[in-house]
Symmetry: none
Subunit: 221 residues, 4 copies
């Protein structure tokens, strides 16, 4: 298949030299996002993508070698848009719960904003090694950020020392993404605020963090 350079850099073909070429390439990418979102990966046909881009069938192959390749290129863009999710936020909220809540909100918001393509990403990850790896890296970045936070909180004495940070980070971020997926599929209009609070509560509890009184929802029932 495609060959990878070390680390996270992939061999990518250079962008087209002419402006016209770059426009065509971008049109294909835009069209692809639309078509994948609508039809899923398996059912998307290259013809449809070319049609949607207003390009001839054969033009596709000037820019991309295969359906997989354009999908990966698409994901690169998407991953950039997801950066806020896993990048250490610059702001310095001191309260751990507040930070969790913010992170979870951002995650859910981003997921929802990109729902259809996120779902397809999920699908393709199960079918394609390369895409799986991209997802894993993206997941991992988020998980590593959480893992580092857990370690910090444990050394602060803020978090339950019995927790194994790596496992917990993986499990909790998994909980989040799985939740986002399930609810997107079932009830695309779920109430984001409530969901973010409940999930944050579960996280905080799970890690043994203290939840500020003003955030503890009214007792149930």
């Amino acid at each position: 298949m495609a060959l990878y350079a070390r680390g996270s850099d992939r061999v990518t073909r250079p962008l087209p030299p002419t402006a016209r070429g770059r426009r065509s390439r971008q049109a294909l990418l835009d069209a692809a996002r639309e078509v994948f979102a609508r039809d899923g990966f398996a059912d998307a046909r290259i013809t449809d993508i070319a049609d949607a881009a207003g390009a001839a069938h054969g033009s596709f192959y000037r820019y991309f070698d295969s359906k997989e390749e354009i999908f990966v290129a698409l994901l690169r863009d998407l991953i950039d848009e997801l950066r806020p999710v896993w990048s250490e936020s610059a702001d310095e909220l001191t309260d751990p719960y507040e930070r969790l809540l913010r992170a979870n909100r951002v995650y859910l918001e981003t997921y929802r904003a990109n729902q259809p393509i996120m779902i397809v990403w999920e699908q393709v990850a199960t079918l394609n090694e390369h895409v799986e790896q991209l997802r894993r890296e993206s997941n991992d970045k988020f998980a590593e950020r959480i893992e580092r936070a857990i370690v910090r909180w444990q050394s602060d004495g803020t978090a339950d020392p019995a927790i194994e940070p790596k496992t917990a980070a993986s499990a909790l971020t998994g909980m989040l993404s799985n939740f986002a997926y399930r609810w997107s599929v079932r009830e695309p209009d779920f109430d984001l605020d409530t969901a973010a609070e409940q999930l944050s509560l579960l996280w905080a509890n799970a890690l043994g963090l203290r939840v500020p009184a003003n955030h503890a929802p009214a007792p149930n029932r």
Copy 2:
């Protein structure tokens, strides 16, 4: 949703009347499980299934109309094998944590025992409405069991009353299944005991349950 008749009769077509026919059908099912596990759904060819069953090409169609249909029939069998996961266990462990731990272990064990086909199920669920529904039903049964338990524990005063049981049950069972999936894909030989304990700890904490001292792992690091 789907209603089952008693015993081995399922809705959909009746089993073949002769023993020979039933043997053939079963051979196809066994072959299908093998082929799906090996090739995934999309790459599995009906020809391969027939071949693996030692049957002629066209014989497949005497018993199943399509790849999807045999896959669903296969899942029906699998779901029966998963019953212990979501059926209320008869035993009367009184300690909530103990019960969580047991449930999580059973889940992980079952998942691992059926790893390849579980992974394919996960994949197909994203591609196919009918299969997605089967998965959802299976998930829901487990989640409902957990939800009932949370409600009980909240009324006991054992669990955090701020937790919304339905959301929590969905999130926590999702965490479990996502974890099982991720680890199966990455490290099929992960240590099941440790994983079960860590996950149970997270669950217990998340719900506000007390963890018996003998189960709290040694402090980290």
Copy 3:
């Protein structure tokens, strides 16, 4: 294919020796008529015929070798039912027009009573040599009867001597059958009396026969 003995006798397999066998055979024939009428020849499947007869798939082949064979057997029965159409009627109506009218009525009635299978016969005749021959024979018998009548009428001085009897008989019986077909397909409930009278009028005129005043419809418009 099947071998024919001389003349109109065909080699036919003997009827089954046991009563049960004969019943099965007949059930298949009845079922075939129904299925052919419903689905046409090309779309009728042997399975369907067997099913409709309440017989097992394989039983069909004990009695018939192929779809064609059962169709021909079916036509044999049908042709018997059509005998009144082409057999010289015993009664001695003296008036030529009266005899035409009667013949045409009988034809249309018979056609209509057997519409669906007649239409299929028409279809199969275009596809299958053997069936075409049966139809031709059936047509020819009718045409020959008409031809003989024309000759008689011409020697009587009742019919236009310029008419070539063979061509006319073929053309006019063709007109009749084509009319029956067209109207069956378009307006299965066409008014038979009116049609018979108009057609007879055309025949009589064409042949130069005198139409009795009481049969001449009121002038048009």
Copy 4:
């Protein structure tokens, strides 16, 4: 029914944009006419059509979706060729019989010139709704022309007023087409002149038109 755009554009898919494409499409149409004429509709295989056109298997599907579709496209061309049959002729022959004779001759000539494909058309019409409709439209145009003529002749006092024009037109054109079909199948080399005269005589008589003495064949026998 179906509306045609001007010139060679038909409803349904637009013609290929490039000359090469149009050549390929036409090659397939030509090949199809040949294959259908040789094998009939049911036995014609798409593969054979592609082969006969010197095209690859899959190329067929760039231009036509199915065997039926190409057959219909073929008929559209054929119907254009049949136009002289049903279009009111410009010439002003005053004698009704002369006009009948000319119309019948044109019909028989055209039928004979396109014999093989006409026969297949006849066959397919019995199998396929769409084709049946095309045939009906074509028939109807001819019948309507005759119907108008009958009405005219009746108001002239030239034709038998007892005739119902619509029925007669349908019956007589049916006679013609049936005759053409029967004789094409049986004796492809029938004598066209004689047939045309006999048929015209029958028509003229049937309608009560006077036949010019020079056209009345010598008395029979």
